[in-house]
Symmetry: C2
Subunit: 359 residues, 2 copies
Amino acid sequence: MAPLTSAKTRPVRLADIAKAAGVSHGTASNVFARPEIVREEVRDRVKAAAEAMGYGGPDPKGRLLRAGKVNAIGVATAEPLSYFFEDPFARVMMASISQACDATGAGISLVSAANSEQLAWNIQSALVDGFIVFCVEGGSKLVELARDRKLPFVALDLDSDDDEAVAAIGVDNIAGASLAARHLTELGHRRFAVLALPYADSGFGPTTQEQMEKALYSGTRDRLRGYFAELSRVDIDVSRVPIYETENNEESVWAGLDHIFAAAETPTAILAMSDRIALHALDWLRQHDMTVPGDVSIVGFDGVPEGAVSKPPLTTIVQPIAEMGRLAVKAILENDGSFSRQLLPVDLVVRASSGPSPA
Amino acid sequence: MAPLTSAKTRPVRLADIAKAAGVSHGTASNVFARPEIVREEVRDRVKAAAEAMGYGGPDPKGRLLRAGKVNAIGVATAEPLSYFFEDPFARVMMASISQACDATGAGISLVSAANSEQLAWNIQSALVDGFIVFCVEGGSKLVELARDRKLPFVALDLDSDDDEAVAAIGVDNIAGASLAARHLTELGHRRFAVLALPYADSGFGPTTQEQMEKALYSGTRDRLRGYFAELSRVDIDVSRVPIYETENNEESVWAGLDHIFAAAETPTAILAMSDRIALHALDWLRQHDMTVPGDVSIVGFDGVPEGAVSKPPLTTIVQPIAEMGRLAVKAILENDGSFSRQLLPVDLVVRASSGPSPA
DNA sequence: ATCATTCATTGGATCGATTCAAACATACAC
DNA sequence: GTGTATGTTTGAATCGATCCAATGAATGAT
């Protein structure tokens, strides 16, 4: 059946309704953008024409090109999109980023992709005024892509410090890790184990201090440095402290604890490089009938809200996540170029997952 | 640091590097879009020019206008942006929406605003191919704005059913509420109280069945209808069941319970129209030394993950949130026009917050 | 009657790319 | 030497708006 009317597509544009209303496109544009400067009679005529032709208002696509500013910032990660809503750390960070955006009226575009080919395209074609890059695994690739767009951008919690020219907001990992270790040594602990974040894209398993020093991700490396600096200070032989690299998920954390507690000498204190790791560890310990902090103490890192309500509540190093989000948005929107790297301080929050050494 | 390049603005465009490389802009475009069809020698020349001039690749702003498709869907709500990351229901929904988007390669733009003036502008200027509208308070305004864009859109959990022509995905609120009420009556409860969601933009406080029937938000109204249909069926005088309208936050829920438990006859069973309400109620009850389900049973609505780990775990009506998200994305992307309203079934999940009536 | 002032409207230029029919080479066959 | 096939490159047209200098019309002042 051949449709009588144009059943295909009929993209009504501003010029169409201008013609229909018998005015120039300039005037038609003004009706929508600055109604007050066009005579009422004309204004009504144009609006009527728009209504009649089913015109949905000026298409932002057109406006955008002229205006140049999208008024939205992109938040990018190499994880799947749902990471933003499921990962505890990401969620808190996003909440603070979105508050900062709300305050300035900017929108948020989520950018991500499973495979890195897709990611490249998504970053290259994202309609944003700047990027906030979540640097977890694969961070450096992401930073590179973002920089290639030549848009303002800042890296959050940068893991790969290969380039000093990258604007980044991070925390003082070394100081934070030291704080965690000192807290435990002050409680009398002498036998430690470290559950590490990934230090390279290499799966999980036991590792060594030497390996860690060559880490691709400086955050992981620095946290270990902080731990060991403090342990060494009180004469603990760090070469005997087991380090297990996890993938920040349940499987690898549990495997790590299986490994650690299979050894002849088992730890009384666990240093976990993230709260997520620590929370999974708590589950494993409960499962294996070990009490926390009776048998084993554990200190996390990040300060996610889940840590406050876990059983037991988690002693951890809290990052000023809200502050980081605020700063990141500010850096993008102001983009005065004066911004470089910024290292924020962290705090130790003592809850019930750490206690005196049983020994 | 003083920038070495021209300190003002230096918008390098495709045409610039085309000229620099001595080719037409058509060819230059091909170098980026379809490299395989341009001779290698030329390709390298253009790429070199781009590199030299600090060109960050074709600007999506320009491409967009020509291509027409943004490849992103907008998710809109009248709440502040952080709603997406903080509200439990929204988070689960967003996680499923983002999974569906990931699968198709579409991006997500978050659209929202505190004041409704800002909201209108944000919706009108959002660069998206369609909208998923979160209908909580102020839903109908939002739906209207979204529809005015003449883009594909679907309303989620639509509260105002004033317009049958709106594509919407919701759950069977009446059936779900009946299920909740029946569960409690079967446990022997006879004295009920209802903690309601907002039924209009009118603050919080005690209310009546008659008020509710005039509700602006049909979801609230239907849940009450479901509750009362079931209670009436077993000969409970619903006119004596207190109804307290909350704002789905701690303050109003606590005020509601203060009110309800100040009455001569106190309930043994509470019907909460959302899990959030129920979880706040759990806190209030614990604070007031009432045991759940010993003294009071409570049933929520939504099925957010927090309900599974609360103390005690929450008996609730779970919505097929993941399914709703998937359907919404599908509806936007396929946009075959065949889509109208869809009502999904809900399930009763019994956990520990409901038990036999103490009487 | 002339000039200055204000207000509304016009139409061309622009934003930064993509697309496509036509022009141009070059090679090969007859 | 003409004709055909193949592969590159060109340049004008297009996408949908906004901006702005110029124009026109109406009012008021001299």
